[in-house]
């Protein structure tokens, strides 16, 4: 188990030491492939039965395995896409060797911190991991690449807001520790495996307080409104592969922390307490992001707000609870982790082609770049929740859970917001995809040359095609092994 923590560190060091920009990219790819290969048996075994290492400091059950699988898949996708992305940046002189080395080094450190979060058994170690993801990813946004004032501004907001927020989560963790030591002494008092067994005996008043702090803390990191302000800035200013990782999986690792707490706090305070809080914050997130999506003029920010919306839906699913609600939420995590990175990858290419993040400056992507255009179209349809794409399935599952429980107000609001988002996302990307190329306002930056076909570009396109295919497949039918995994996760979370 420890091996897979060592691989990203070694890769990070190698990438930083190497003096050849092109080679670094492939070394990073080799590192992530090695990571995926060595983690695969661990993930599959963790899904069938919990495994642990280092005296129970690290422990993995199905939920950890599920999230870790997503972390590794997206890391792989990101590492592949990064090659062509950085090659392009190098060609256009937007970065230099130093930036590339720093970027890859930090990228693997970032992967390392996310792996710690998924593997930690101890809630405090999980906190340490989540805080570490903030620090490393802030560096990736602000310095990883090339220094621009806007990126520095975004990174500053990100790190200040998230550090303050997550400090509250630490307080919540302290309070949990206090409550659990009162029940069972200090031995393993923060270990998730132990806490799960004593959860019903924890003092409900104390756990309520703890949960509020944790929800505020990790909620900030997970991008739940109204403390989401860092998210659009960070996502729009980060390099595209990093935006994909931030949106696709970083938010989920923070939400994973909340889910862990829900399953401890729920038995103590009653499901209604945690459920109602999550439903309220989920609906606020969906509502606020729906409005901002509608008026958004910058497509990367639009995608960022769409992330807030989807985190809201996940929160709503967990909040509604029950096997169906949690199943929907977990499925949504995966669907979002497929569609959103695809869109960020595509938007990175659009941005490098048109030189702008403005929706109005991009026109006719479908005619000028048919492959990229169709991939973007698939992603946009999926993100807006159009059937038969994957996100529709999980949104519908969450909706069904709400109807089953008879939460009609929640269902009505959810439907209203989702319709707004549907229009907002499709009209935003529709303007970019259709129309005649060259009509765009302020375009014509001149570099409409077709870049030479290189291995990096082929790989980058390949991973995007694979993601688009999985978006379609997941929409038609959830594959058996994923379905099994999610069902096991639902049991782990103790939904009845």
């Amino acid at each position: 188990m420890i091996v897979i923590l060592i691989i990203p560190i070694v890769t990070a060091i190698l990438c930083y030491v190497l003096k050849n920009a092109r080679l670094t990219g492939y070394v990073s790819l080799a590192g992530t492939i090695a990571l995926a290969v060595s983690a695969w048996p661990m993930i599959t075994s963790s899904i069938s039965a919990p495994i642990s290492a280092m005296d129970g400091a690290f422990s993995m059950d199905a939920l950890s395995g599920y999230i870790m699988g997503l972390v590794i898949f997206l890391s792989l996708a990101s590492a592949i896409y990064s090659i062509s992305y950085l090659e392009h940046e190098l060609e256009t002189g937007l970065t230099d060797l130093r930036g590339v080395r720093r970027y890859y080094g930090l990228l693997h450190l970032f992967i390392f911190t996310m792996l710690i979060v998924t593997m930690a058994n101890n809630l405090a170690i999980m906190w340490i991991g989540i805080e570490a993801t903030t620090i490393v990813s802030a560096l990736l946004i602000g310095l990883g690449f090339h220094k621009r004032p806007l990126a520095v501004e975004a990174a500053w907001k990100y790190i200040i807001l998230c550090t303050v927020g997550i400090t509250f989560a630490l307080l919540g963790t302290f309070i949990t520790y206090y409550a659990s030591t009162a029940v069972m002494g200090t031995e393993g008092a923060l270990n998730w495996t132990v806490l799960k067994t004593v959860a019903p005996r924890l003092n409900p008043e104390t756990m309520k307080l703890a949960f509020i702090f944790v929800l505020v803390g990790y909620g900030t990191k997970a991008g739940l409104a109204p403390v989401h302000n860092w998210l659009p800035d960070a996502h729009s200013q980060a390099p595209s592969p990093i935006s994909a990782l931030l949106s696709g999986i970083l938010l989920n690792t923070a939400f994973y922390g909340i889910m862990r707490f829900v399953s401890i706090v729920g038995p103590s305070t009653g499901e209604a307490f945690t459920g109602n809080l999550l439903i309220i914050f989920g609906l606020i997130s969906i509502g606020i992001s729906a409005i901002f999506i509608l008026v958004q003029e910058n497509y990367k920010r639009l995608l960022a707000y769409s992330s807030i919306e989807h985190m809201g839906i996940i929160s709503l699913g967990v909040g509604i609870g029950g096997p169906v609600g949690i199943y929907g939420a977990l499925l949504h995590i995966m669907n979002h982790a497929l569609s959103k990175p695809l869109m960020f990858f595509a938007s990175g290419k659009i941005q490098s082609r048109f030189g702008s993040q403005n929706i109005a400056s991009v026109k006719g992507v479908l005619t000028s770049m048919p492959l990229l255009g169709s991939l973007t179209l698939i992603g946009a349809l999926s993100l807006s929740g159009t059937p038969p794409f994957n996100i529709f399935v999980s949104e519908f599952t969450v909706l069904k859970a709400g109807v089953d429980k008879g939460l009609w107000t929640v269902v009505a609001l959810f439907l209203l917001f989702v319709v707004i988002v549907f229009y907002g996302v499709l009209s935003g990307f529709g303007k970019m995809l259709f129309g005649k190329p060259g009509d765009a306002v302020g375009s014509g930056t001149g570099h409409h040359h077709v870049p030479a076909l290189s291995l990096g570009r082929v790989l980058g396109n390949g991973i995007m095609i694979i993601m688009a295919l999985s978006v379609i497949i997941m929409g038609l039918r959830v594959p058996g092994f994923i379905d099994e995994t999610i069902r096991t996760c639902v049991q782990v979370l103790g939904a009845k």
Binding site: T134, A138, T163, V164, L171, N203
Partner: protein
């Protein structure tokens, strides 16, 4: 020694000292004074942990006291002083509101905390006052963060908040296991270093360390 500590309510004295160093932030005009106040605050925090270690006689508390002293008491202040010198800032804090108003609001915050936590759920042994003080410190530092303009003041507010949080955690649980304490302190240290780097970057990129300039990204 134990009787001596109890007889003179040393713990209460130290925690009041922690509160007072946080309150003084309202009155200071230069960032150097903030760093000095922070150093004193951290030393007090570490000595409080040491005193409790003597009281309950647990080894891991001595370790925690030493760790706190090393990181918060020595490393972070040294780093902050370097950053302050490197930025060659005007050393002014530039609050949005006057110092006397800010002081008054801090006083109200402390009163509110005492009033609301009077019948708290956590009243155990030595920590009765300590918990209230720690929450007050957290609130005051948050208040400092939102009313000051310079990037570094935000970092200072965050650091004070973390001290308050450590105090709260400590009063609730007699400290976390050492390995966790170590990890949290390490994260915090890295966080401060990176915030320092970004503060310098902001200064460079916007030719000012005023946070009002950071308004390009919105909506």
């Amino acid at each position: 020694m134990k009787t001596w500590i109890e007889a003179f309510s040393i713990i209460d004295f130290i925690s009041v000292g922690i509160l007072l160093t946080a309150v003084t932030l309202n009155a200071f005009k230069s960032i150097e004074s903030y760093v000095k106040a922070y150093t004193i605050n951290s030393w007090l925090l570490s000595s409080l942990i040491a005193v409790v270690a003597v009281l309950v006689g647990e080894t891991h508390l001595y370790v925690a006291a030493l760790l706190t002293l090393a990181t918060k008491g020595i490393l972070i202040p040294l780093f902050l002083r370097r950053i302050v010198r490197q930025m060659r800032v005007t050393h002014e804090v530039v609050p949005y509101i006057s110092n006397s108003l800010s002081l008054a609001i801090s006083g109200i915050l402390v009163a509110v905390v005492y009033a609301s936590l009077k019948e708290g759920i956590f009243v155990t042994g030595f920590s009765r006052n300590v918990l209230q003080i720690s929450i007050a410190v957290i609130l005051i530092s948050l208040f400092i963060m939102i009313t000051r303009k310079k990037a570094l003041t935000l970092v200072m507010g965050l650091l004070f908040m973390e001290n308050g949080l450590f105090l709260a955690g400590f009063s609730l649980t007699f400290g976390m296991p050492t390995i966790i304490e170590l990890g949290v302190l390490f994260d915090m240290l890295m966080g401060v270093i990176i915030l320092g780097i970004f503060a310098v970057q902001i200064k460079r990129a916007f030719a000012s360390a005023d946070l009002d300039k950071l308004t390009v990204l919105k909506g």
